[in-house]
């Protein structure tokens, strides 16, 4: 059986590999649908001998009516030369942009650009698009601007406290109208989209506590570590103000609960900067 797989070494096979592993399921082609999207599902073995399912989704899109002259057609069949001679199809030098770019007409001064369509959970929508997740600290709003570009930045700026600090409802409501002097939590500000705590509560359910962090772990480190599991809305690392060292724990808020769950499963017990991380739900696990 090992012989069939070519240059695999028997010692690299898993102990519980089935005998008939070398038989791969057949190639499936899901033909072009009305959008012209075609899916091809193939199975192959990768270098380690694992069965790998490769799904290729292609969409044929006619970009332009290319009316080529006779000479141009000849040129089309020229062999590649120079650095292009050794390029394979997977070189990905040439890619169609994933974003649709339009010729933006100039706006009259004063009118705002159109807001991106808000899905039920704006953060989730941004995460799915695969775009950079921009969270503005001032209005806690969906990702279309960074804090420095916040259109609501003339409202009371947020302090260094947790965003989750429960606001004093009466004080905040009156403070919302008094201008810059008092702290107005993002959810109660004039421009905030979600007045309720609905969005934040959901986020706290997706909150993960990370303990046993090393002294010089900071937010960017946690972000880098956790964002492979999915879009992250917020990272926080508790730091001792006097000494500047990390107090050894922090919180990561995911957009999707499933991502948080996967992160917990994968990273609990993970060795990071010479310490074994403990990763768990931040609140007593809600069901």
């Amino acid at each position: 059986m090992a012989v069939d797989m070519g240059k695999l070494r028997w010692g690299e096979l898993e102990d519980d590999a089935e005998d008939l592993d070398f038989l791969l399921p057949p190639r499936v082609v899901i033909g072009p649908d009305e959008n012209g999207v075609k899916k091809v599902i193939e199975y192959r073995f990768d270098d380690a001998g694992n069965k790998v399912k490769v799904t290729t989704t292609t969409r044929v899109r006619k970009l332009t009516r290319a009316r080529l002259s006779k000479r141009a057609i000849e040129r089309r069949s020229w062999p590649k030369f120079g650095d292009a001679a050794h390029e394979d199809a997977g070189a990905r030098l040439t890619m169609v942009s994933t974003e649709e770019i339009i010729l933006e007409r100039p706006r009259a001064p004063g009118s705002k650009a159109e807001e991106p369509k808000a899905a039920g959970d704006p953060f989730a929508a941004m995460g799915k698009a695969g775009a950079v997740l921009m969270v503005c600290r001032t209005c806690g709003k969906k990702g279309d601007h960074w804090t420095s570009k916040c259109p609501y930045k003339d409202l009371a700026p947020s302090t260094d406290a947790f965003v989750d600090k429960p606001p004093g409802a009466e004080a905040a409501a009156s403070a919302a109208g008094t201008g810059k002097n008092t702290y107005v939590p993002p959810s109660l500000r004039a421009g905030a989209e979600n007045r309720g705590t609905e969005m934040r509560r959901r986020n706290d359910e997706n909150s993960v506590r990370v303990t046993n962090l090393s002294e010089d772990t900071r937010e960017p480190d946690l972000l880098e570590l956790f964002q492979t599991f999915g879009p992250v809305t917020r990272v926080y690392v508790a730091v001792d103000q006097k000494t500047g060292v990390s107090r050894g724990f922090g919180f990561v808020n995911f957009v999707n609960r499933e991502d948080a769950e996967r992160a917990i499963n994968k990273l609990n017990g993970y060795g990071y900067d010479n310490l074994i991380l403990r990763v768990e739900w931040a609140t007593p696990r809600p069901n």
Partner: protein, 326 residues
């Protein structure tokens, strides 16, 4: 529209040029190796290896057989477009900045930068049909402008040479005698260095872009200023549409905004203006760095832009573009 992104260069782009039939796009960059791409789907055809310095400019002959490139390594090289072999190399004493084939491809005008005490110059070389007959002597050498001459192009019927550069003055030279025929007016002309020059499809007018944040349209014969297009950014590249009354201008970045540009799909845009009304039609965003090169496909249905980020973005216009009403 969905631009096609081509990352063939590791360094900033300097120049883009389509061939006469619009099926090939040549890109020059600071990374020493010009590339050639198919203009419909952006697939790379090949690269021209041989230069040792940034390639500033290129031109392709009308039959798309010969490519000429000007480089900072003080050479101008002639290439066979099809297989990338170098046919000839002209040597100079200073970096070569701009190159342009004449109508008929028998001559080429080359500009060289001032270097180590040598002033900048405009040189005309004869291009032989068969490169084995090629000689390297200049047919004509013109000196005069102070500072870099960023672009020099042929006037109608090769009777004149138009040059523009760092000293902000556009000059028209006679090809036979090398004499200065006309100069652009100082007051109405550009106030800062002219970075780019682009001829119209019929050769009757041309567009210059300058670091003074404007682009100006001039008549080719009389050198009168026809139109001015004002932007907010220093202009690095400009092009005239061969099909509609549009011009496109691409540029750098206002210094004030250096720290506040955000990371989302690049904010640098190529601005479209109505050629006659001088009004902005719109902008096409996408580049992550200042736009250094712009070129329209001769059929006017697509254009490409090259940026400081090393990307060439090839845009095929949607049908809405052709229905724009001002």
């Amino acid at each position: 529209m969905r631009p096609i992104l081509m990352k063939g260069h590791e360094r900033p782009l300097t120049f883009l040029r389509y061939n006469r039939e619009g099926d090939l796009l040549f890109s020059c960059a600071k990374d020493h190796t010009p590339n050639v791409w198919f203009a419909d789907n952006g697939e790379r055809l090949g690269t021209y290896r041989g230069h040792n310095g940034a390639v500033w400019c290129c031109d392709v002959s009308r039959d798309s057989m010969r490519l000429i490139t000007a480089s900072a390594d003080q050479t101008v090289k002639l290439w066979n477009v099809q297989n990338g072999t170098q046919l000839y190399s002209f040597n100079f004493d200073s970096p070569a900045k701009s190159v342009d084939f004449s109508v008929g491809d028998k001559l080429a005008v080359i500009t060289t930068d001032p270097f180590m005490g040598l002033p900048s110059a405009i040189q005309v070389k004869q291009i032989a049909r068969d490169s084995s007959d090629q000689i390297s002597d200049s047919v004509l050498t013109i000196k005069g402008p102070v500072g870099r001459i960023n672009r020099a192009v042929w006037g109608p019927l090769n009777k004149t040479i138009i040059s523009a550069g760092e000293d902000t003055v556009i000059r028209v030279w006679d090809t036979e005698t090398g004499q200065l025929l006309k100069e652009s007016d100082k007051e109405t002309g550009h106030q800062k260095t002219i970075t780019s020059l682009s001829k119209s499809a019929d050769g009757s007018h041309f567009l210059t872009g300058s670091s003074d944040k404007s682009a100006k349209l001039w008549d080719m014969r009389t050198l009168t200023l026809i139109k001015t297009y004002v932007t907010e950014r220093p202009v690095n590249a400009c092009a005239i549409s061969p099909l509609l009354d549009h011009v496109v201008i691409g540029g750098g970045q206002e210094a004030v905004h250096v720290t506040t540009t955000d990371r989302r799909a690049g904010k640098f845009e190529a601005k479209f203006f109505h050629k006659i009304l001088q009004e902005e039609i719109g902008g096409v965003k996408g580049h992550f760095g200042p736009i250094n090169a712009l070129a329209f496909n001769p059929d006017g249905r697509s254009f490409s832009s090259g940026g400081e980020d090393g990307y060439v973005r090839l845009h095929h216009f949607d049908s809405d573009y052709f229905n724009i009403r001002m």
